[in-house]
């Protein structure tokens, strides 16, 4: 069957099997390998991307179901070479180690901040509780999301982000 959807602002059309999962469509058909696959059972959340602005677990969405809809993946966070504050927050606060759960975490966090720009720690923990990180223990992920909330305005010059690769 043929499916057409908008992915990160661009319209894509592909011939697929009806059973193709959205996660495999993104990864194998479109080469957007930033969305990862981790469990099959909607428990780990490493496959989270947006469907019409809502975070979904793409391992449990058929690509066909996304036909006619808008998908946003981690590759769509950076705009014109400028990182989204959530991406910068994860770098600044050591919100990742192996990086495997990170795209899903960031997509969920971005959606949270879009509807609640100043979430409490409890709210943040609740928002990411459908996802598993095996490396960080979550405290630094919470800090990363808080950093992004504090630096929502990209032109906030009062706290210059640290540069990667230089000791402070």
């Amino acid at each position: 069957m043929q499916v057409t959807m908008t992915v990160n602002g661009e319209s894509v059309t592909r011939e697929i099997e009806g059973r193709t999962l959205l996660v495999h469509f993104l990864r194998d058909d479109l080469g957007l390998t930033g969305t990862h696959w981790g469990c099959d059972t909607s428990n780990c959340g490493t496959c989270v991307a947006w469907l019409d602005g809502e975070p979904v677990k793409t391992c449990t969405v058929l690509a066909a179901m996304a036909g006619g809809h808008e998908v946003r993946t981690v590759e769509g966070l950076e705009v014109d070479g400028v990182l989204d504050p959530i991406q910068e927050g994860f770098i600044q606060c050591h919100g990742l180690q192996c990086g495997f759960c990170t795209p899903g975490m960031m997509m969920t966090a971005r959606a949270l901040l879009d509807r609640d720009p100043d979430p409490s720690e409890d709210t943040i923990r609740e928002a990411i509780s459908g996802q598993i990180c095996r490396c960080t223990g979550y405290t630094t992920i919470v800090r990363s999301i808080q950093w992004a909330a504090e630096h929502a305005a990209a032109d906030d010059a009062s706290t210059e982000p640290e540069t990667v690769g230089s000791p402070s």
Binding site: T41, T46, E88, I91, T102, I132, R134, T136
Partner: protein
């Protein structure tokens, strides 16, 4: 909480004096990861690539009567179907394990655990490969399985390993350490002896990325390139040469970005070998990625020790001796990754952080119809089990003596002036200042206030518990004279090249799975040679482009490879000094090294930078007599001893008296890993390990029914902590450098996984004190805690 946050920021205070190398530094890896541009194994796409899927045994123990692959082979998208019998014709049906046992690549005679590999299919796409598995018809003659480890050696137990010559039982190995007679003598005269049966259940590392590989065999050149989820690419290359009979120079193993390892990616799995065979047979690149169930039911598990702990002491709390008897479940094949002379890993450090008179351990390991493996999940070669045993049994002693667990521990600590300290089982602890770390943890926790709060809550019927653990680890294997994996000495190479413009590339044999090696190793080299970390590229994970070494596990990267990186940089600096002496026209001994430049002693104005020296080394002009051009070096570091990091952990829990649910309210971790290279990364490693600890103590267990069906084959059944089960971690640190490590650093990657489970269990047991409970086994799920409260506590297996 302000106080705690302030302490987190104090993390970098001791490194601020060294701005070139060590200190908090954002990671060089992160810009690609936050863009979704990491390249993991499943991201590898090659032209014409085919997909491999594995048919696995549905039963734990059965003889294979027949396998019919006709229908699968007829599937239009299937390229090849392979069974064990076909591999056997090539001599590839069995492969060596990391413990000198053998393991079936594909079963030929019997299946020995549920999930064992039986056949594989290579097809045009991943869905078709899976479809074809359904078309393979296997007839099994089901045999009674051995599931209960305690019954494995019963005279009538079915023999699992009848593939081994003359094997008539399920015995795997016996091992002992310490002095049995001396220990008995001490027990005989002790005032108090406490005995407790303690089980460390089978758990699984379950990294977020499962295991997989992409094999690409070039039939013209005869070269195999294998992308795989490997924590030890060089060791794997050598083993593939042995297993597959391929010449080693024709094998290139690439470990791309790895989505978490925790020991799960140390062994060679049948799937890797199948992908190689698949590529050779089809003449195409072949990808194998296991799914989550395959990962949980078939790959390297961890723990599974049934321990009887005994502790002897005086009535005033002086610990005299510790003795333990262990029954170890090694599954169907002994796939433990441990140094040859250490079949029980480093379990011998079970005497912990205490100065005692005698110790003895006797262990029996057995085969069962369960998945092979054994050393994984950040266990530091079984130190996790050892620390859990000693820290649990010490708490049992405190319970018996009605002593505060902190007081009891402090009374028995090895003292700073006793280092280097030789333990009663022969381990030489390099350095430690235990009481200082314990006091810092008590201070951060506000221990006395917590005890007062607990007293008040108990009076009101609330169940609050405070748990303490103090651990010492032994990490950084070699030395090579004692430690090897299948004959390969546990040393690590490192190569450093400084380019003409003063930028550098350092090549490592170890393999990051998230530890941030590209950052940390740039910092280590920067500190030694004065080139900023941003100007140093770190290459790892490609056997064609890095020196040989044994890889990353057992917290060995910093103790071994980190030392190699520092020493190779010093070697380059030594050469730079000779070149600088020529440039400044003074003797070598008249030069002084200061942060990236040599200057003439007493005349700092006459100096050359490392960048100027690099250009000179590659330039057209003359170099001092006998000096070759270029500025590079390579070494292989053989550690003199292990390093012995330690830490003091305090856990505060609340147990709901109505539901028996355990909530970890606070967790304070004070760690000492010697010199701290990047405090931010260290803190991250600690946080991750603490979370593992919560998982193991409260949630995680790989369990089986009596038929050997794995009951934990998905993340719906194998529970891993989310953000809601763990608290906001509170950390602190002390610094006691390792005297033998070139920069004084010790490993830290597994400290928290090792140290946290006993603190959490001790806290829960402490909370249940009003019920007269001295011990309860992990995982302390609400139902198990409830049973304990009703006096029905049982072992989990």
């Amino acid at each position: 909480m302000t106080l705690i946050e302030d302490r987190d920021h104090l993390e970098h205070a001791d490194n601020d004096q060294k701005p070139i190398g060590h200190g908090r530094m954002l990671r060089k890896e992160d810009p690609r990861f936050v863009r979704g541009l990491g390249k993991y194994c499943d991201d590898v796409q090659l032209p014409g690539m085919l997909h491999l899927a594995i048919l696995r045994s549905p039963v734990a123990h059965a003889r294979i009567v027949s396998i019919d692959t006709t229908a699968a082979q007829a599937h239009p998208k299937v390229k090849v179907v392979v069974t064990g019998a076909m591999l056997a014709e090539q001599g590839l049906a069995w492969m060596p394990t990391l413990s000198n046992d053998v393991q079936a690549v594909l079963a030929t005679d019997k299946v020995r655990f549920q999930g064992q590999e039986v056949a594989f299919v290579v097809a045009e796409d991943r869905y078709s490969a899976r479809d074809a598995l359904e078309l393979i018809d296997v007839e099994y003659d089901v045999l009674p399985p051995v599931i209960d480890v305690r019954k494995a050696l019963a005279p009538d137990a079915p023999v699992i390993r009848d593939d081994l010559d003359g094997k008539k039982d399920n015995h795997c190995f016996d091992w002992e350490t310490g002095d049995e007679a001396a220990t008995q003598a001490v027990f005989d005269r002790a005032d108090v002896v406490v005995t407790e049966d303690i089980v460390y259940p089978r758990v699984h590392p379950a990294p977020m990325e499962t295991c997989g590989s992409v094999a690409d065999y070039d039939r013209v050149s005869g070269k195999l390139t294998l992308w795989s989820t490997s924590q030890a690419p060089h060791a794997h290359r050598t083993l593939y040469a042995i297993v597959a009979g391929l010449p080693e120079h024709k094998i290139r193993v690439i470990s791309p970005d790895i989505g978490g390892g925790f020991g799960n990616k140390v062994p060679i799995y049948p799937g890797y070998v199948c992908s190689i065979v698949g590529s050779i047979l089809t003449n195409k690149p072949v990808k194998w990625m296991e799914d989550r169930t395959e990962n949980l039911v078939s790959t390297g598990f961890a723990r599974d020790y049934v321990m009887r702990g005994e502790i002897a002491a005086t009535k005033d709390g002086r610990i005299l001796a510790i003795r333990t008897n262990v029954l170890a479940d090694h599954g169907a094949f002994n796939g433990t990754a441990a140094p040859t002379k250490y079949p029980a890993g480093f379990f011998g450090v079970f005497t912990g952080s205490y100065d005692i008179e005698a110790a003895y351990c006797k262990m029996t390991a057995v085969y069962t119809n369960k998945a092979p493996g054994g050393v994984a999940y950040a266990c530091s070669f079984r130190i996790t089990e050892a620390v859990y045993l000693v820290e649990r049994i010490v708490d049992c002693l405190a319970y018996q003596l009605k002593m505060d667990p902190v007081t009891l521990r402090k009374k028995n600590f090895i003292q700073p002036d006793q280092f280097p300290y030789t333990s009663k089982t022969g381990w030489v602890y390099d350095s430690g200042e235990y009481e200082r770390a314990m006091d810092l943890a008590l201070d951060i926790a506000g221990y006395d206030d917590l005890r007062r709060e607990q007293e008040e809550k108990r009076a009101g019927g609330e169940l609050m518990g405070i748990g303490v653990s103090f651990f010492t680890e032994a990490v950084g294997a070699g030395p090579r004279k004692n430690m090897d994996i299948l004959g390969l000495g546990m040393a690590d190479g490192c190569e450093l090249r400084v380019h003409p413009t003063g930028k550098a590339v350092v090549r490592l044999s170890v393999q990051s799975q998230g530890q941030g090696h590209e950052t940390t190793f740039a910092q280590i080299v920067a500190e030694e040679i004065g080139i900023p970390p941003a100007d140093i590229d770190v290459v790892h994970g490609d056997t064609d482009n890095t020196p040989f070494g044994l890889g990353t596990y057992g917290s060995r990267s910093t103790p071994v490879s980190g030392a190699a990186a520092a020493l190779v940089a010093r070697k380059v600096r030594d050469k730079a000094q000779i070149i600088a002496s020529g440039m400044l026209e003074v003797s070598v001994v008249d030069l002084e090294w200061v942060k990236g430049s040599f200057h003439v002693k007493g005349d700092p104005s006459r100096s050359v930078t490392i960048q100027e020296i690099a250009m000179k080394a590659h330039g057209a002009g003359d170099l001092p007599e006998g000096v070759e051009g270029g500025l590079e070096a390579q070494i292989c570091y053989n550690p003199e001893n292990l390093t012995y990091p330690f830490g003091a952990y305090i856990c505060v829990v609340d147990v709901d008296p109505g539901t028996a649910e355990v909530k970890v309210r606070r967790f304070i971790a004070v760690d000492d890993c010697g010199t701290r290279i990047n405090p931010m990364i260290i803190e991250g490693q600690i946080h991750g390990g603490l979370t593992d600890g919560v998982g193991m103590a409260l949630m995680e267990m790989i369990s089986f029914d009596e038929d050997g069906n794995c009951l934990s084959g998905s993340l719906m059944d194998y529970l891993i902590p989310t953000s809601l089960e763990v608290p906001h971690w509170e950390t602190g640190h002390t610094v006691t450098p390792s005297p033998h490590h070139p920069i004084g650093a010790k490993g830290v990657g597994e400290s928290a996984t090792v140290g946290s489970p006993p603190a959490i269990v001790n806290a829960v047991v402490d909370a249940l004190k009003p019920y007269g409970i001295r011990h309860a086994d992990m995982p302390l799920t609400p139902s198990r805690v409830w049973d304990a409260m009703q006096g029905r506590a049982t072992a989990p297996i």
